[in-house]
Amino acid sequence: MIPIEHYLAFSLVLFAIGAAGALTRRNPIMILMSVAVMLTAANVNLIAFSRLWGTVHGQLFSLFIMADAAAETALGLGILVACMRRRDARGAAEPELSKW
């Protein structure tokens, strides 16, 4: 196995990129994508430590994270669609929501 530090460094880089994306982008879909990258970075850590200890519990935890990531994405996009629909109905011109 490659030394664990490589996996930790990779995970840190991926997490930092995701965090930077989530903080700087104003497009809600882009923010959700960045959050997905952050969650994947966490999964890399869990699975690398799972391999280091020779158990499957880290992998198990990563599955729960994936399930919650799916739930979070579905809910976020659902809220977005609902907001967009309401805004269209009111006929507002300025997309206030897309600031965040």
Partner: protein
Amino acid sequence: MAGNNLLFDFLAAIAAASALAMITRRNIFHGAILLLATLLATGGIFLQLQAEYAFAAQLLLFAGGIVLLFVLVAMLLAPGALHHPARFNWRMFAASALVLVVAIEILAFFWARHDATLWPSVAAMPPNNTGTMGDALFRDDLPAFEFASIPLLATIIGVVMLAKRRTE
């Protein structure tokens, strides 16, 4: 071992470069494709760590399901709905610079203590990896598995309520 190392470097470089390209892209569809590349490369790293089940879940759930959801919603919303003129925001720039600095700090800390940290020696994975995982998931840690369904159920109900068209 050298080949293994090279493969990891290759996959990690693809993942990091795609993620970096993703957060700078203005087009959501380009972003989705780059996100897909990040997730697939990370899946390759999972496979390298002998996490076959996590690799399959990454492919089916993340690369298949979540990216599809992103593309679908981007297509559902009006093409111009999410477009707004680029405005440079100093606060956001400062926030991401802070993230970068903290990340570099952690990385420097890592490498400085590189040899001092006592990691346990690498243990062998169980031979029947996915089978062991099934045992853990459905026998030893069954409550955790069952509790994982509660947020999913809450999400389903929540999204249906949000998406329901008002009838009044």
